[in-house]
């Protein structure tokens, strides 16, 4: 290598060639993380739905049930847990607040979900709860990991307080976006009474003392954008019953809630826009950046070699110029 220009091009080619894998396999796992101060609300509806009327003790068809789900990153708790855990941690305080057609509370499930900001692996720390009960989560909840794979995952179910497989069922197109479709079915399971009841005077203890038990089944569906792991759509076919109710309500089984819950159109649009923006940032680190750098490295290397070859071809011609005149 003789020409300074080819040496500069070679240095740049090496830089690009080394930066490509650095971005994908070193920077991405360390830099891509869920922000700890995220705030996100989602509204879901079941239209129509079946709901227990506690005054008549009859299950009634209602026009709609609304589920307002809020996720709020608790930065102070993240800092506290990070000090002990030694890694980036996100703490989400979540509330699923269910209202009837009149806007009054039907049920509410507050949760605290603690997880690794990069991998989304659960982090166990004091304060990890569902409806005030301490839990030890396994698996994921609300969101899938970055670069979601075409495989089954363990997904935490807040009602049963356990994780169960959520199955990958194929790749679909949702509003022009390629997504992975996942499905989880929770069979009829006896679950705890919610701490907050919709009628004054009825407490979980009163219901438990009367011998009533609460049962629940659901089919949970998620359409996941695989780069960010964010759900762009979610649905649930949800059923809840009170059993062993004969002595109190004249029938053994009473439907408390039954409905097909879907994300509301305005939230589908806003979540879609948010996911598209985040997808681009992640793709810069895992795909666009590394591939562009690889291409640039090859071009720079080729240019450097070409310049070098040209300078070597031109070099032998120079000494041939001074020819000794014939005697």
């Amino acid at each position: 290598m003789r020409r300074p220009a080819s040496l500069v091009l070679l240095a740049l080619a090496v830089f690009c060639a080394a930066m490509a894998p650095f971005l994908r396999w070193y920077a991405f796992p360390r830099l891509a993380k869920i922000p700890p101060n995220q705030y996100q609300e989602t509204v879901l509806e079941a239209r129509p739905a079946t709901l227990l009327n506690y005054s008549t003790l009859q299950a009634e068809k209602v026009e709609k049930i609304t589920i307002i789900q809020t996720l709020k990153g608790n930065v102070e708790e993240s800092r506290r847990i990070e000090r002990d855990a030694g890694r980036d941690v996100v703490v989400w305080d979540a509330l699923a607040y269910v209202t009837g057609p009149d806007g009054k509370m039907v049920s509410q499930v507050p949760e605290r979900y603690i997880f690794d900001a990069h991998t989304q692996a659960p982090v166990h720390a004091t304060g990890e709860t569902v409806d005030g009960d301490p839990v030890r989560r396994e698996g994921i909840e609300f969101k899938f990991p970055f670069l979601t794979e075409k495989r089954d995952y363990q997904y935490f179910d807040a009602q049963t307080r356990t994780a169960a497989p959520i199955h990958y069922k194929g790749t679909r197109t949702f509003r022009g976006m390629e997504v992975y479709y996942f499905e989880q079915t929770i069979p009829w399971t006896k679950v705890a009474m919610p701490k907050a009841m919709p009628v004054k005077g009825i407490t979980p203890k009163v219901l438990a003392d009367s011998g009533l038990t609460r049962w629940y089944t659901t089919k949970r569906m998620f359409w996941i954008e695989p780069v960010t792991g964010a759900p762009v759509n979610g649905e649930e076919i949800h059923k809840e019953e009170l059993r062993n109710a004969k002595a109190l309500m004249g029938r053994d089984t009473l439907t408390v809630f039954e409905g097909h819950v879907k994300m509301r159109e305005d939230y589908l649009q806003s979540v879609g826009e948010l996911v598209s923006a985040n997808r681009l940032s992640v793709l810069m680190l895992v795909s666009y950046g590394p591939w562009s750098l690889t291409f640039l490295a090859l071009v720079l290397l080729a240019l450097s070699l070409w310049l070098e070859a040209r300078s070597r071809r031109a070099a032998p011609a120079a000494p041939a110029a001074p020819v000794t005149p014939p005697v």
Binding site: A18, A27, P110, Y267
Partner: protein, 46 residues
Amino acid sequence: MRALVAAAIGLAPVLLFVLLVSLVELPPDGPTSPKPLLTADPGPKK
């Protein structure tokens, strides 16, 4: 020899990035949102 030096010069900033990413530990950014956990439909999303 010059080619090796050029390659080393190209690698140096990458190693610097590696060091930077591994050593710099950023604390959680931003404060907790002041917005409450919702107990009513917030209305149509804008």
